[in-house]
């Protein structure tokens, strides 16, 4: 105790001399009285250099400032609204309030035309500056410049052009560019969903943009049309329809505007999934009454192979991203569980063991993980590694959540959810922390399938 007192600075030693002298004189008395002496609280201890550690949190949203585009185009309002909404939906950013911006409106977008300090002082981590101009009559031209504010550096820049009535498309491109420059990941805004929509009593197949806009009807037969599946080129959609009274398989060629029925066998012809690189479909057929997984030709519907031959019900086969494996649902062990087998159906192995109802697998693009639907009261979306490890719950206690599908880059999972009372398409980051509703308006969306990246 005394040595700690004595190691204080000279000045403080002098100041505390009388206090210590008093303490020393009192010490024998205190000992006589049977008391122990403690140092006075607050007296300085020896000087030390302390080190505290901080670890960067992985899921931190980056504050981003998006000033209103310069350039004077009449489409700026729509462009700006779509751009802000895209960045918000992406889950990467916290959008800063433009009312707090210090920089005068109309300040230039290029390096040297603005001051980093104006954004640093607001706490912006990223600055996305845009220019939007109308050119050559009916053309829109956009530039985007992305800056790391804290690092005082330009992350990248790019320009785009589009027809004059495509401000929304242009905004999606700019949003993707910002996301790419900041995260080195592709943004999701050049993708669409194929969905089954029950908006007028029946179920039709539609496509819809990632942000819920651009709903486009593909079928119009007044029947039940479900389980759409994009091919790897993004030009064909296979789906199951009851238009002829039986669940048959159809293929809609979006480029040619043609719909063809390619499988109308007795029993079910459903749950088709395109091979990732070949013109081949995995499909559930029931030629002998018992559903099994088969492969058929994508043009003719000719049977190529039967992948499962179990006495149980085997349905919903989906190809792995490299086409070497297939995941499916089977009740061969009692309740429905997920299985993975080689692409020819050999070496089937069970993946899920938790719970008694796990269905509807979807492959992560890396091929090491499945998203699926589990039931524990409600239907919820979960993910699991192929070896059965890292079972992760994506949804819980928010209505029924079904039909999960990974985004092409594997960063998001889309699914249908009744959490708002009506069935809409929602998206979540793969850890479940950022979830957003993508479709709006009248509900009735189900069976989303995520397109590959589309050319604009």
């Amino acid at each position: 105790m005394f040595s700690r007192l004595g190691s204080a600075s000279r000045r403080s030693r002098q100041r505390s001399f009388w206090a210590r002298a008093t303490a020393t004189v009192a010490a024998p008395l205190a000992v006589v009285a049977g008391l122990s002496l403690q140092p006075a609280e607050g007296l300085a201890e020896e000087l030390k250099l302390y080190t505290g550690e901080l670890s960067y949190p992985g899921e931190k949203k980056m504050p981003i400032a998006i000033p209103r585009p310069v350039g004077g185009s009449g489409a700026v309002d729509e462009f700006y609204e779509v751009l802000e909404n895209d960045l918000r939906l992406s889950g990467w950013f916290e959008i800063m309030d433009p009312a707090a911006f210090l920089e005068p409106a109309g300040t230039g977008v290029r390096p040297g035309q603005f001051r980093y300090e104006d954004w640093d002082s607001l706490g912006a981590a990223v600055l996305g500056k845009t220019l939007l101009q109308s050119r050559n009559g009916n053309q829109l031209y956009a530039e985007v410049w992305v800056y790391d504010v804290a690092g005082n550096r330009r992350l990248g820049a790019r320009s785009f052009s589009a027809d004059g009535d495509h401000a929304r498309l242009l905004a999606h491109k700019v949003a993707n560019e910002i996301i790419y420059r900041v995260t080195l990941r592709d943004g999701p805004f050049n993708t669409r969903f194929a969905v089954s929509g029950a908006f007028s009593g029946n179920k039709e197949i539609y496509t819809v943009d990632f942000d819920g806009y651009g709903l486009t009807r593909i079928t119009k037969n007044g029947s039940i049309n479900i389980q759409p599946s994009w091919d790897h080129t993004g030009t064909k959609i296979a789906y199951t329809s009851y238009a002829a009274g039986n669940p048959d398989l159809y293929v809609a060629d979006l480029g040619a505007g043609q719909i063809t029925r390619i499988s109308a066998r007795n029993g079910i012809n459903s749950g088709a999934d395109w091979h990732p690189s070949r013109n081949l479909l995995a499909i559930t057929l029931s030629p002998g009454g018992n559903p099994d997984v088969f492969t058929i030709d994508g043009n003719t519907g000719r049977q190529v192979a039967q992948l499962t031959r179990d006495l149980g019900i085997d349905v919903g086969g989906v190809f792995s991203p490299d086409g070497s494996q297939i995941a499916f649902t089977s009740d061969r062990s009692g309740g429905p569980q997920l299985y993975v087998a080689s692409a020819d159906g050999s070496n089937p192995r069970r993946v899920t063991f938790m719970g008694n109802y796990n269905v509807d697998p979807s492959w992560h693009p890396d091929g090491d993980k499945l998203a699926f639907v589990g039931r524990d009261g409600n239907f919820d979306v979960l993910t699991i590694n192929l070896d059965g490890s890292e079972l992760t719950r994506i949804t819980q206690g928010q209505g029924d959540n079904e039909d999960p599908v990974f985004s092409p880059d594997g960063y998001y999972i889309a699914f249908s959810s009744t959490r708002t009372g009506q069935s809409h398409i929602h998206a979540s980051t793969i850890n479940g922390r950022h979830q957003v509703q993508l479709t709006r308006g009248k509900g009735g969306y189900s069976n989303p399938d995520w397109s590959p990246k589309l050319d604009w």
């Binding site: 000087l47 250099l49 080190t51 992985g58 290029r110 001051r115």
Partner: protein, 266 residues
């Protein structure tokens, strides 16, 4: 021999005499002990002399500059998705190359020393040369020179030991309260988080008794000047943390405090 009888005559009991003698003997021993202790309690280092030298030269923070990212004098023209006529942007202005001055203005009423001597002129020249060198290579400022740490009044702070904030409950409690503010202000772009996963930045600063953060300097950089700068900006933007416990105030103000920023691998 008459003593006891005299005491008895005065009504003083023998045990009282014995107690008095005992008390004074104890008092005498106490005073001798105090003298011995006080002589021996002259300031001593807690570490050997050779260790002191090492700490002064090696373990203490180095003088650093706050650096912008290496500027691009002729930034690339934006990539054109379709043929466009975006002209190459002009080079950044000089004002972009330096951070705003974070040093506080001198307090009013206090004289500011302005003697011009050779030393100052030489330092000015060195600063200029250094600035020019940094424009060419911003990483040159990271750990370019050792400098012994001195306290604000110019006196050496002397040798110090090092400790973790988790070395005692009170310090750990204070750090637990201070961390969230720093973490909330520390933002790096995702591209850097992925690219520099696993790296650390060690920043030295002083913490005043009221919790004000002062004089942050990068002691050990990450290899990315933008990442280092983001760590410094976290200190600047936080500005203040909960007041440290009294027993730590001298250390935090005179010796300083290290913050180790880690970008985890996952």
């Amino acid at each position: 021999m008459a003593g006891p009888s005299v005491l008895a005559q005065r009504g003083i009991a023998p045990w009282t005499i014995a107690a008095s003698v005992g008390f004074h003997l104890a008092l005498g021993v106490g005073l001798v002990a105090f003298d011995t202790w006080f002589r021996s309690s002259e300031p001593k280092s807690m570490v050997p002399e050779h260790t002191m030298v090492m700490l002064s030269a090696g373990s203490l923070p180095r003088q650093q500059s706050i650096l912008p990212e290496r500027p691009t004098r002729t930034p690339d023209a934006p990539e054109v998705a379709k043929a466009q006529d975006a002209a190459p942007p002009p080079p950044p202005k000089k004002s972009e190359l330096t951070l705003p001055d974070k040093n506080p203005e001198p307090e009013k009423g206090k004289e500011v020393e302005t003697p011009r001597d050779r030393t100052r002129d030489r330092e000015a020249l060195l600063r200029k040369a250094r600035k020019e060198a940094l424009v060419k290579d911003p990483t040159a400022a990271i750990g370019d020179r050792d400098q012994a740490r001195t306290s604000p009044d110019g006196t050496s702070s002397g040798p110090v030991g090092e400790a973790s904030v988790n070395s005692d409950p009170e310090t750990a409690k204070w750090w637990k309260a201070a961390r969230p503010a720093l973490l909330s202000k520390w933002v790096i772009v995702e591209a850097d988080r992925r690219k520099y996963a696993g790296t650390t930045i060690l920043v030295h600063l002083r913490i005043l008794p009221d919790g004000t953060l002062k004089d942050p300097k990068v002691v050990k950089g990450s290899g990315s000047s933008s990442l280092d700068r983001a760590a410094l900006m976290a200190i600047y933007k936080t500005a203040r943390v909960p007041a440290p416990p009294k027993k730590l105030q001298a250390s935090f103000e005179k010796v300083g405090f290290n913050v180790k920023f880690t970008v985890p691998t996952n």
